[in-house]
């Protein structure tokens, strides 16, 4: 037998375990499915909402929490800290009645085997409601509270984008739309919009990507007409602008391809007989690429290798098109991956930039004269974008950045930066380099 109360409590406890795991360094993609398997199917949407929402506002919620706690919680009580953050999220950002939030959160202490904390949790949440105006005033100057970003990142954004930083952070805290890319080998946008309308799914064409469709509200992919048959893929509009910059190519390289969104797009746009080599250094993630391509009915040569060490995998034949969608801080996609606010550290940026420079310099040697290389990231930080490209253009006289007239956003020294949210898009950087 079960009771409704045990289920409602279990969802809160599961959300606390997910948030605590992310605070401990695990990705949301790893932590959430593990806990989702432990709650009943109809509670999984609520679990995801609690986890995403809490992580999205985590810097602000913990700023409030630290003001309310008479003394810090012990490090072994990370689950309790996470539970309290999920409760503050519910009080502040959901329509769940406050008394229900307090009741379920107190009960969840027991589900987390911390019955001693029920008094503390009860008192703290009641204080949070009662002292709301004083808290707001006291925290008005607190950077983490104001921006809901880790302070180091808020400062970096303000330095790189003095005028836009505030708007960027607001966009980062918003929910992302679900955006589709139609497979032009199987359908066209008008026809697919009709299929969506027939299925009762609200949608509109994207502004900048000819293949893009924005859904009115997110759906499970299984509900999308023809998804399994490869009519569409899920991909943000900003990411959809990459592959067209490289079309048409005969011999293409997708250097960091997983999970394969752009790999599929490159092949959808490639002429018949074109050859694509797709590389990733994770065998597990390459399997995702293979699944994606199978679904779309496309083929590529998939290599489990380090793209930055071509001597280990390259056959010596140059490529005429290279996509380097480099591993990055993902600071342009915080709205889709709010766990990055907790996972990324200030010191990561220099390490990522060094890896990006290594990849770019190594792959440049594989490009045929007259060929094009697109350097792209979902970062909004100059250190990972223009600064990386500048290393190449300084070292190689044959590298010439091309203008990008079709790409929205701000022109930078070497490319363009589309900041998140200007058109309900992810943040993305593009630099198109021609080899002379």
């Amino acid at each position: 037998m079960t009771t409704e109360a045990t289920e409602a409590t279990e969802v809160r406890a599961a959300a606390a375990r997910v948030v605590a795991a992310v605070a401990g360094g695990e990705s949301l993609d790893a932590a959430l499915p593990r806990e989702a398997a432990r709650v009943v199917a109809r509670d999984r949407a609520l679990l995801a909402e609690l986890c995403y929402g809490t992580l999205r506002w985590y810097p602000r919620l913990t700023a409030i929490l630290d003001r309310l706690l008479a003394r810090p919680l012990k490090s072994r009580d990370g689950d309790l800290r996470a539970l309290l953050a999920t409760a503050l999220y519910q009080l502040e950002h959901t329509r769940i009645p406050p008394h229900a939030v307090v009741h379920e959160t107190v009960a969840a202490c027991r589900a987390l085997a911390k019955p001693w904390a029920t008094g503390l949790v009860n008192a703290l949440l009641r204080n949070a409601q009662r002292r709301r105006p004083q808290l707001d005033a006291a925290l008005a100057e607190d950077l983490a509270y104001r921006s809901a970003h880790p302070p180091w990142l808020a400062r970096l954004l303000a330095a790189d984008w003095p005028r836009e930083a505030e708007a960027v952070m607001v966009a980062n805290n918003a929910r992302a739309p679900m955006t589709l890319r139609i497979n032009q080998r199987r359908t066209d946008r008008a026809a697919y919009l009709e299929l969506l309308a027939a299925a009762g799914i609200e949608a509109r064409p994207a502004t900048h990507s000819a293949a893009g469709i924005l859904l009115g509200s997110p759906r499970a992919v299984a509900e999308l007409p023809g998804f399994a048959a490869g009519l569409v893929s899920v991909q943000d509009e900003a990411a959809q602008l990459c592959a067209p910059l490289l079309a048409p190519g005969q011999r293409l390289l997708d250097a960091c391809c997983a999970p394969g969104g752009k790999t599929g797009h490159l092949l959808e746009l490639a002429p018949d007989g074109a050859e694509l080599v797709a590389i990733d250094n994770s065998r597990q993630r390459l399997a995702l690429v293979a699944d994606n391509l199978d679904r779309l009915g496309l083929q590529a040569r998939l290599l489990d290798a380090d793209a930055g060490a071509p001597e280990t995998w390259w056959d010596g034949t140059p490529f005429d098109r290279i996509l380097l969608d480099a591993p990055c801080s993902a600071t342009g996609v915080l709205r889709r991956h709010p766990d990055i606010k907790l996972l990324r550290r200030a010191g990561d940026i220099a390490k990522l930039a060094a890896a990006q420079r290594r990849l770019l310099l190594a792959l440049w040697e594989l490009l045929a004269p007259g060929g094009l290389l697109l350097y792209a990231t979902c970062s909004v930080l100059c250190a990972e974008n223009d600064a990386v490209v500048a290393t190449l253009t300084a070292a190689r006289a044959d590298a010439r950045p091309l203008p990008l007239p079709g790409i929205p956003g701000a022109a930078t020294a070497a490319g363009r930066q589309w900041l998140p949210g200007t058109d309900d898009n992810d943040g993305f950087y593009y630099a198109l380099l021609e080899k002379r």
Partner: protein
């Protein structure tokens, strides 16, 4: 310790009548331990052996808030002391996600064996009384949805089938 698979309505194995336990041995104690772990993990407040496809008269229960008062009943027998019915919102790990009011008598006497094979008697009330009746029903191949109108039962069956397809 192990998490066991819980059968879901309308699985016909949930309709089997369980056999009395003839010997309280180590194997049975292991089964009870696994059933408790399965129940706590699910999470539920009670679980009958029938639900994990073992057709012997054994149920495990914990209705405490702190989840620290496990109760094991072997060969439970129920006598109704007062048949005034009381409504309670019941759910079931074999009918996940559905809650419906079921009327049952609240005042009962239960006789059973514990994990050492010793007989004991309980006169439970509240949720514990409801839960014991719910679990003993399982041992007789009966589910709480049997108390609902055919229309409601059919609706639950359809919704559940849809969920099972979606997660298969």
């Amino acid at each position: 310790m192990a998490i066991l698979t819980i059968l879901e309505f309308p699985d016909s194995r949930l309709r089997k009548v369980a056999e009395p336990v003839t010997e309280v041995d180590a194997a049975l104690r292991n089964l009870a331990t696994d059933m408790l772990e399965t129940m706590y993990g699910a999470p539920g407040v009670g679980l009958a052996a029938t639900q994990v496809n073992v057709h012997r008269r054994l149920v495990v229960i914990d209705v405490s808030d702190a989840r620290d008062q496990p109760l094991v009943l072997i060969n439970p027998e129920i006598a109704v002391l007062d048949d005034t019915p009381r409504d309670y919102d019941e759910g079931c790990l074999s009918v996940p996600g559905f809650y419906e009011k079921v009327a049952r008598p609240e005042r009962i006497r239960v006789q059973a064996l514990d994990l050492d094979g010793n007989p004991f008697t309980l006169e439970p009330d509240g949720l514990l009384s409801i839960c014991i009746q719910h679990e003993v029903d399982h041992l007789d191949g009966k589910l709480f949805v049997d108390y609902l109108s055919p229309l409601k039962r059919q609706r639950i069956r359809q919704k559940l089938a849809k969920l099972q397809r979606a997660t298969a």
